[in-house]
């Protein structure tokens, strides 16, 4: 009698312990989200105080707290140059990292990024075409954004068409994406072949990605894109978790694997296209941030989207701030700095990680 009640309490204790450690594990993830959010705010606070126009930190903050106005040069440089640029960096970094997280999850491929399905190649082709067609014209900026957005969607449309003939397995989608990458890369090459050298250089710089053209209208569109699509991604995050158990197991749990994949693909495409049409293709963030975050906090996509998002925002913001400072008053395209900062960082993490990861 006494032994059975003893085992009873022991079992209950075990249960308590498991529950506690699980709650702790979840709480840890939430702390990470908060931590990175704070880091983003912190970096933004520093970034806004830096710039080539000489303003002291207290001046910058008094300008911000006085509300929007552009009367003095100082106010103009804070409200029209620094703030939109910083906000755009945060939004784009967040969006690309979140999109990358979900692409890696749905395609079950560690190399997947928002650009795996050819979005970047499509967008770059659109940009090159716009630059070629509107060389020196006033409406060039609008054409550039419009073409970049539209052509970013084309590869995904083609892949959707293809997967309507064949089941959307990760292999088919990734291979088709690679094909799109090459095809649009070639189209871009063709356009550049006929373009003037100046246009080619402009297209090259666009391809690296830059935040130099940030404006409040960019920020508001990017914010709308994020508000529309990030909740949709969050909503599918749990299903994408389940996809990792294998298509058959997922189906048995009521997740339509192929359909989930197509839905996520469409959402990430719209999200990515809506961001990169303003900034150019900032390549590395969407690939690398999900990996880095997965290395230290595990793979649950519901949390990973947010953690990777804030991490991506922090990364892009700091890269851009460095880019603004190193050769001030000129600024380096942010894409270059992202690669140069994150590349070695990722290599070191890969080296330090024991064999468990991948």
């Amino acid at each position: 009698m006494s032994t059975s009640s003893e085992t009873g309490t022991k079992v209950r204790l075990e249960r308590k312990k498991v529950e506690q450690s699980y709650n702790k594990y979840i709480r840890k993830k939430i702390y990470y989200i908060i931590l990175f959010f704070v880091i983003v705010l912190f970096i933004a606070g520093i970034a806004v105080a830096l710039g080539c126009f000489p303003l002291s930190v207290s001046e910058v903050y008094s300008i911000i707290f006085q509300g929007p106005s552009t009367e003095t040069l100082g106010e103009e440089s804070v409200w029209l140059l620094r703030l939109p640029r910083i906000l755009l960096a945060i939004l784009v970094g967040f969006g690309l990292a979140a999109a990358g997280t979900m692409m890696q999850g749905t395609l079950k491929n560690p190399l997947a990024s928002p650009f795996t399905l050819g979005i970047a190649a499509g967008a770059s082709f659109g940009a090159s075409l716009a630059l070629y067609l509107a060389e020196g014209e006033v409406y060039g900026q609008y054409l550039l954004v419009g073409f970049a957005f539209l052509f970013a969607l084309v590869p995904t449309l083609i892949i959707m068409l293809l997967t309507s003939f064949r089941r959307a397995t990760p292999e088919t989608m990734v291979l088709a994406g690679i094909a799109m990458l090459y095809l649009f890369g070639a189209f871009q090459g063709l356009v550049q072949f006929f373009s003037s050298p100046t246009t080619v250089q402009a297209a090259v710089i666009w391809g690296v990605g830059t935040l130099a053209r940030a404006s409040w209208s960019h920020v508001s569109v990017a914010a709308i894109v994020l508000i529309c699509f990030i909740p949709l991604l969050m909503w599918k995050a749990w299903d994408v978790n389940i996809l990792d158990a294998g298509d058959e197991a997922a189906e048995s749990m009521g997740v339509n694997a192929a359909r989930t994949r197509v839905i996520v693909m469409v959402i990430t495409t719209l999200l990515t296209a809506g961001l990169v049409c303003f900034t150019g293709t900032i390549g590395f963030i969407g690939l690398i941030t999900p990996h880095i975050c997965r290395m230290f906090m595990g793979g649950d996509n519901r949390f990973l989207i947010l953690v990777a998002g804030f991490f991506g925002a922090a990364l892009l913001l700091s890269a851009d701030t460095v880019g603004r400072m190193v050769i001030a008053p000129e600024s380096l395209p942010v894409g270059i700095l992202v690669n140069l900062i994150a590349g070695p960082m990722f290599l070191i993490m890969l080296l330090r990680k024991k064999e468990g990861y991948l």
Binding site: E171, I178, L183, Q192, V204, P333, G343, L347, L351, L358
Partner: protein, 367 residues
């Protein structure tokens, strides 16, 4: 007795079955060899046709009489120059480069067990692109590539092509990374070097940027006999070494542990093959630029045709790469003549529909 008659006939049945299986196996291997032979013939036909095409009008028979003539005599007339000094080296370069890329792609896919692997997966292309941009933009010489800076370009792109590969290899030595980690490391190197390239392209002279950009896409424009010899030496050294390892790579496909148990040193094999492939790719790329698609698509298409046995796949994909590049170059030269479209653009536009068709048509998982 029925039973005894059965026991008598049984070994005979077994024997005929055995013979059937053996015949079947030989036949399937023969089919693979026929496929390779077919590709070789195709290559010769394409080469033969390519020699007669060009902006300078020379008739079919004339071309061949010039070829025979020049084998034993030095080049004298302008026709002879066009055929012997311009077309022939270009055709040979296309064949050699195509072979190199096809082989390197097959090996990388085999070693990394990843259908997305290609000769440039370790970042070789972006390393080479950086090396080339360095010479073109920081200008050893002018922004026109001429005598001295041509050698500097080749040397610089060859050396920088190997830098990312060396970093990736160092990782293998330092740890025991899985194929997944290796691929990720390669991608990191790719991004780092393309950023460095951009870094020197952003403030540069636009003309130089365009030259560097098109060097990176790849071109056979500058083919000359001086290129043929070094590149054939690279191929002659690397191909036999890789061919020798094909069986080991077949076994590696069964998984690292099984391969170890069969007696293959997985780590050493992987390092060896990666190193040889890297040298091979760098040797090709420094002459013709990073021509895309050939190294990725040739192994895939050949694998769909004859299966994944690397012993046959390697030569098949080599020849297929040569055929593909030759065909692409011929199209590039003729489609908008006298304008020559960069070959990398043609390979991609040509290869993509084929690739898509194969993805869609193939049932089940061939990979």
């Amino acid at each position: 007795m029925t039973a005894s008659s059965e026991t008598i006939s049984k070994p005979e049945i077994a024997k005929t079955e055995r013979a059937q299986i053996s015949a079947h196996y030989t036949k399937s291997n023969k089919r693979k060899i026929y496929f390779i032979l077919f590709l070789v013939i195709l290559m010769f036909i394409f080469a033969g046709v390519a020699a007669t095409l060009g902006s300078y009008q020379i008739s079919f028979t004339e071309v061949y009489s010039i070829l025979f003539h020049c084998l034993f005599h030095s080049v004298e007339t302008y026709e002879e120059y066009a055929v012997w000094e311009l077309r022939l080296p270009r055709i040979l370069l296309a064949i050699l480069a195509g072979m190199g890329l096809g082989v390197a792609g097959t090996m990388m896919q085999g070693i990394l067990r990843n259908p997305l692997a290609e000769p440039y997966t370790m970042g070789i292309a972006s390393g080479a692109g950086f090396g080339a941009a360095l010479v073109i933009i920081l200008g050893i010489g002018t922004d026109v590539i001429g005598g001295y800076s041509r050698y500097a370009l080749i040397a610089s792109s060859f050396i920088f092509a190997l830098v990312p590969a060396c970093v990736v290899l160092a990782m293998v030595l330092y740890r025991k990374p899985t194929p997944g980690t290796l691929v990720l490391a390669g991608i990191s190197m790719l991004y780092i070097f393309s950023a460095l390239t951009m870094l020197i392209q952003v403030p540069a002279n636009p003309d130089a940027v365009k030259v560097a950009q098109f060097w990176a896409v790849g071109s056979l424009e500058r083919a000359s006999w001086q290129d043929i010899f070094p590149i054939s030496i690279v191929l002659a050294c690397c191909l036999p070494l890789l061919m020798w390892k094909t069986w080991d790579i077949n076994i590696l496909n069964a998984g690292d542990e099984i391969a170890e148990s069969i007696g293959i040193n997985v780590k050493r094999t992987r390092i060896f093959v990666m190193m040889v492939s890297a040298v091979l790719t760098a040797g090709v790329v420094c002459f013709v630029g990073a021509i895309s698609f050939v190294g990725l698509v040739s192994p895939h298409i050949c694998r769909m045709a004859i299966g994944a046995d690397n012993r046959f796949l390697l030569p098949a994909s080599a020849i297929f790469g040569a055929v593909l590049l030759l065909l692409a170059d011929t199209i590039a030269r003729t489609v908008a003549a006298p304008l020559v479209i960069p070959i990398g653009i043609v390979t991609a536009i040509m290869g993509t529909p084929l690739f898509l068709y194969l993805i869609l048509k193939k049932k089940g998982e061939y990979w």
